[in-house]
């Protein structure tokens, strides 16, 4: 029934998947190298890994094919969208490795397995982005998730870290179960695992297929921490080592959202009127839970967790439109939102007083008087997250609302607008604490890596006045055209 794969085809496919192949080989090499060098060489291996990830990111973008190409008989798809997405997430992974190497060196817990696990997680995400059938999709998710559990529990002597790892593992295993059950139903009712074949066989009146689709969407919603599947996020974001949290909050979102967009638009593109309610509800609940939940938080990392839940809500709101415009808005939103989040985490990592990491909002008290640079950066980032006009966050939200209203989902747009107002309250509260409260003692100097990340993210939160936004929008438009109608 299926054409045989020849050796030449395998080689050609591997060449097409050059970044993944490169990362897989590097991961094996790193495991051997690390076993010889041991934890003393952890710092050097982290730097090497960050470089390798950057090289893979650049390679992915440079060697991107100009149109949709399929590898391994259609199991993986490579096109400009996946190439740029891989480039972005590998870059974020490189930051995660580099920031972690700074943080772990501070408390002397550096271990060489950290860069190795981040590499494996990044490999899994690349597979998720390119996945074009149910089996590859599941394996990509699992590869990423297995590495993620261990990363969350990486500080195994810290009870909060262990708790985070365990919670993440148990809840993620349940969601994998949902996903697999849904995938088996989809396969059972269409007889196909390739997305294109599923699209051809999809019948909107088939109860079993819709049933399977809902399960698959629930499983995926868990992976991107959309409410009501978000329970793990605050605990994991708080308990996991901070650089790991930064990695979860940025890179995994790219992979999850692109996979979600592909699932919605490709195999189930014709079933839009069936899944639109599901995605609308998930989006609406995420925005509400994210905004209201963040109001009562005192811990910065928990606050960021709720903020990310709310932001995923906006992305899903754009996707609910089920149109080109919707996918465009979702991609634009992600591209604008992620650098800001990464910079926020770099800033949180830099908060340190007398050898102790600070993560409470109260610790920021009077930051503006002692550290005007840091406070200014934080303020700009928070304004951007709140969606205040001259900053990029506004343009992302604008695009998302445009797409939603264009598709006639008025109620969802109103819920989104209300959630934006609520979320502005807690972002502004932090700004108030920084600028108007009494200052506490000075922080320790942040070091170059964190300061540069913080500053770069802040610069990117200005739309570098239309210069950057113009080409980005064109690129996003071109990429979203690769999806079906």
């Amino acid at each position: 029934m299926n054409p045989e794969i020849s050796a030449e085809m395998v080689v050609a496919s591997l060449r097409l998947m050059a970044p993944e192949t490169f990362l897989a080989v590097y991961a094996l090499f790193l495991a051997v190298l690390g076993a010889f060098v041991g934890d003393r060489g952890a710092r050097a291996l982290s730097t090497l890994t960050a470089l390798v990830l950057v090289v893979a990111a650049v390679g992915s973008v440079i060697y991107a094919p100009l149109e949709r190409t399929e590898a391994f008989n259609g199991a993986i798809v490579v096109d400009p969208l996946t190439a740029w997405a891989k480039g972005g997430l590998l870059l974020l992974a490189a930051f995660a490795v580099q920031m972690a190497s700074v943080v772990f060196a501070r408390d002397g817990s550096a271990r060489f397995e950290y860069p190795l696990l981040v590499t494996l997680a990044a490999l899994g995400m690349c597979i998720m982005i390119g996945a074009n059938d149910l089996i590859t999709m599941y394996l990509g998710i699992e590869l990423n998730a297995l590495a993620a559990y261990v990363l969350a529990a990486f500080r195994r002597d810290d009870s909060r870290s262990s708790e985070a790892g365990l919670k993440y593992f148990v809840l993620s295993a349940i969601s994998s179960g949902l996903l697999l059950y849904g995938a088996s139903l989809v396969y059972g009712f269409t007889g196909a695992v390739r997305f294109a074949d599923i699209a051809a066989a999809a019948d909107p009146d088939n109860v079993g297929l819709i049933f399977g689709l809902v399960f698959v969407l629930c499983g995926l919603a868990f992976k991107i921490s959309a409410a009501p599947f978000h329970m793990w996020a605050p605990d994991v974001y708080e308990g996991a080592p901070a650089p790991v949290t930064a990695f979860f909050a940025t890179a995994s979102k790219i992979a999850g959202v692109i996979l979600m967009a592909r699932i919605l638009m490709e195999p189930f593109g014709d079933l839009h009127d069936r899944w639109v309610q599901v995605i609308s509800v998930i989006a609406g609940v995420s925005m509400i839970v994210g905004s209201l939940g963040a109001l009562v938080q005192t811990n910065l990392r928990r606050l960021m967790a709720y903020s990310s839940i709310a932001n995923i809500g906006y992305v899903l709101m754009a996707l609910a439109a089920g149109s080109q415009l919707g996918v465009q808005a979702a991609l634009l939103y992600l591209a604008l939102y992620l650098p800001v989040t990464l910079a926020m985490f770099a800033g949180i990592l830099a908060l340190r007083r007398q050898g102790e990491d600070l993560e409470r909002i109260g610790d920021l008290s009077g930051l503006a008087r002692n550290h005007p640079f840091m406070a200014t950066c934080f303020t700009m980032l928070l304004f951007s997250l709140a969606g205040v006009p001259p900053l990029v966050g506004f343009f992302g939200k604008l695009a998302a609302f445009q797409a939603t209203l264009d598709a006639g989902l008025v109620v969802l747009a109103i819920v989104g607008a209300l959630a934006t107002v609520v979320s502005a309250a807690y972002y502004l509260r932090i700004i108030k604490v920084m600028w108007f409260d009494e200052p506490v003692a000075r922080m320790e100097p942040a070091g170059p890596t964190l300061a540069v990340t913080l500053a770069a993210g802040t610069v990117l939160s200005f739309p570098v006045l239309v210069v950057l936004l113009g080409p980005l929008e064109t690129a996003v438009r071109a990429m979203s055209a690769l999806y079906g109608p």
């Binding site: 993986i76 494996l120 109860v207």
Partner: protein, 200 residues
């Protein structure tokens, strides 16, 4: 044909009875032993269907590794299973309700079932080499990517297990082969002339 039918009904009966006994048995060790019996008879059912590779896999992986591991866990850990089972009946209303909902959903989904064309192929169609060869051929060609990716997943699991459990303990005595071999008789043995009745 009659022999196959007799074999099928015998194996099927044993499977169902032993599967029931897995949850009904009082002694957890007996439960695990019944589980192993269930695996064996299921393997027999697979052979009857012509899926000898699956039968082999079931015996090697589940009986050989998983079930024996269970047996060890059950025997090693001091878990009071009678204590665990005590509140069983009080959960019955809620559990029963969930069970009924699940069954209803299965029926709902099952009623929409249309068998796709390619699902009807029986394992017997694979010809000479049987299912093992057919599976091998498809795994290493069509699904080579998936196969290799599964390898990476297992690799990650292995690294993860080591990261989370390996601890460098202080004061552990390790064998050093070089010192052991390089030891001489003069360092190790002292000749004492012990007088009778005095000790060293």
């Amino acid at each position: 044909m009659a022999i196959t039918a007799v074999a099928f009904y015998t194996l099927a009966t044993i499977t169902i009875v032993s599967a029931f006994l897995v949850i009904a048995a009082r002694n957890p060790v007996h439960s695990v032993l019944f589980l192993i019996l269930t695996f064996f008879t299921t393997a027999g059912l697979f052979v009857l269907m012509g899926a000898e590779f699956l039968a082999m896999l079931l015996v090697v992986v589940y009986v050989g590794a998983v079930a024996v591991l269970f047996l060890f866990v059950v025997m090693m850990l001091d878990i009071d299973f009678a204590e665990l089972k005590r509140g069983f009946l009080s959960y019955l209303p809620l559990g029963g309700l969930i069970g009924v909902i699940l069954v209803a959903q299965f029926l709902l989904v099952g009623s929409a079932w249309v068998s796709p064309e390619n699902a009807a192929r029986s394992p017997a169609e694979f010809g000479e080499g049987g299912t093992a060869e057919a599976l091998g051929r498809i795994l290493y060609t069509e699904y080579v990517l998936v196969f290799q990716l599964s390898g990476m997943v297992l690799f990650t699991a292995m690294i993860g297990a080591i990261v989370l459990t390996l601890r460098q303990r202080e004061g552990v005595k390790r064998q050093n082969v070089a010192t052991q071999v390089g030891r001489r008789r003069t360092e190790a043995v002292v000749l004492k002339d012990v007088k009778p009745g005095e000790g060293i």
